[in-house]
């Protein structure tokens, strides 16, 4: 099917050139990396950019950089790039599992993590992982660079803290300093390609600090602060987990839509919390568990 809307196409090779284009066009420009969202938005008449700036050839926007103190996911890094990294699987398993759950191979080969957080749909799989790792979004414009903590990034569905003349150059994920375990659980209508009905990232470390973040059950992905506070410093028990599960309805605000009802989402978010905590506890003991079928399907 032919695309009705047409635009100017730019393929800058340098960041400075990209920033100048953004300054010139402002919100009339759209950045193109993987294009798996942008192409659909343009086709379906959601967006009508005057200019599309392809950033796949900008030298400074590298893919992945493993540093001593953390991982920098550059604007060109696709979900497949993340999945192919054995180091990410080892040190950032929660991120790796969330990347695995995104769409299908043909989409993951193209779609980028940075694009995912810029599209900022409520069901984005990368959201919980980045929230649990306290990631930092790096932005640039002709005025300079700035950083935004991921907790302040998501403002509303499809709205972020990014300004029209800015580009996200990458996301920095600090390396957890002490022994830890994490997992990402995604509830879909079936195994395989689907948007999340609900998603949950769970992270725990040796000091018994828990980090929990939900997606697809509220306007933006969000940490479950009350539950984290309840669990902090405590070893898990059946009673404690039951108490944590009872707090779930206070932490999320799901809607009913084509993928599931509100009550089902709330119920399953409790189950996901229970199983996610169990997985992390077992992983802390060194047990190898695959989370792929942990919710059935």
């Amino acid at each position: 099917m032919a695309v009705v809307h047409n635009f100017e196409y730019y393929k800058p090779l340098k960041l400075a050139e990209t920033l100048k284009l953004l300054k010139k066009y402002g919100d009339k420009a759209k950045l193109l990396a993987g294009g798996t969202d942008l192409a659909v938005f343009i086709k379906e008449g959601v967006l009508f950019p005057e200019a599309v700036i392809d950033i796949k050839h900008v030298k400074e926007l590298q893919k992945l950089e493993l540093k001593k103190d953390g991982l920098f996911v550059g604007a060109q890094a696709s979900f497949s790039d993340i999945l192919e990294s054995a180091n990410i699987k080892k040190d950032y398993l929660l991120l790796w599992e969330s990347a695995r759950s995104v769409a299908s191979v043909g989409i993951r080969n193209r779609a980028t993590l940075v694009g995912n957080i810029c599209s900022a749909v409520p069901s984005l799989d990368s959201g919980p992982a980045l929230l649990c790792y306290d990631a930092v979004v790096h932005l640039a414009s002709t005025k300079g660079e700035r950083e935004v903590p991921i907790s302040e990034w998501f403002l509303a569905p499809r709205r972020t803290a990014m300004k029209p003349d800015e580009i996200v150059t990458g996301v920095f994920i600090p390396k957890p300093k002490i022994k830890n375990a994490g997992c990402y659980l995604k509830l879909g209508r079936y195994g395989g390609e689907d948007l999340a009905q609900a998603g949950l990232g769970v992270f725990v470390n040796d000091k018994l600090e828990y980090k929990l973040a939900y997606c697809a059950v509220g306007p933006v992905p969000k940490r479950a602060a009350k539950i984290e506070k309840l669990l902090k410093g405590k070893a898990l028990s059946t009673v404690l987990i039951a108490k944590a599960m009872s707090l779930v309805p206070e932490e999320i605000a799901p809607i009913a839509d084509i993928r599931s009802g509100k009550e089902y989402r709330i119920h399953m978010c409790k189950i996901m919390l229970e199983r996610g905590l169990e997985v992390c506890t077992e992983r802390m003991k060194g047990k190898i568990i695959d989370t792929l079928r942990i919710l059935g399907g």
Partner: protein, 154 residues
């Protein structure tokens, strides 16, 4: 209109495109390559799958202008000079009925076997989760891929 140049199925080709033309439309309507099909036109069904630099992509979500200087392989390219073992297995196992999803399925399965010569059933299902087939129920497709994997030397 911009002139782009890229390798299509081992051949250097040049074509004029508008920025908003998808790779799928350009391949089919301007370059005579008909194996990629338009199904959902939004990246969900996999019927339009082709490879860019060896990795499968949804050609309905790629603007043709993006592939300037790259290498695009479609089913036509994979089938040269003769059918692959995978394609022969698909024939042997009657893996297709209407055939609309076939080019995309073969692209995805070829990529899988390139990266993982001996996938198990779960890995095959995962690799094909972005390819919808409404005829076969998938079983004969899985069987063909498993057969190729079994016959390959470990």
């Amino acid at each position: 209109m911009a002139k782009i140049k890229f390798i299509l199925n081992n051949e250097m080709r040049t074509v004029d495109v508008e920025p908003n033309e998808t790779l799928l439309d350009v391949l089919r309507d301007k370059m005579g390559v008909k194996s990629p099909k338009c199904g959902c036109d939004r990246g969900d069904c996999g019927a339009c799958a082709v490879m860019i630099d060896g990795k499968s992509v949804r050609s309905c979500l790629v603007f043709a202008i993006e592939v300037n200087g790259q290498e695009v392989t479609t089913l036509e390219g994979i089938s040269q000079p003769k059918l692959t073992k995978l394609q022969e297995a698909f024939i042997q196992f009657n893996s297709f009925q209407c055939g609309y999803c076939a080019p995309g399925v073969i692209i995805s399965a070829t990529e899988l076997l390139n990266n993982n010569p001996h996938p198990d059933l779960e890995e095959i299902k995962e690799a094909l989760s972005g390819n919808l087939c409404r005829c076969t129920g998938y079983q004969p497709i899985f069987e063909a891929i498993m057969d190729v994997s079994r016959k390959r030397k470990k």
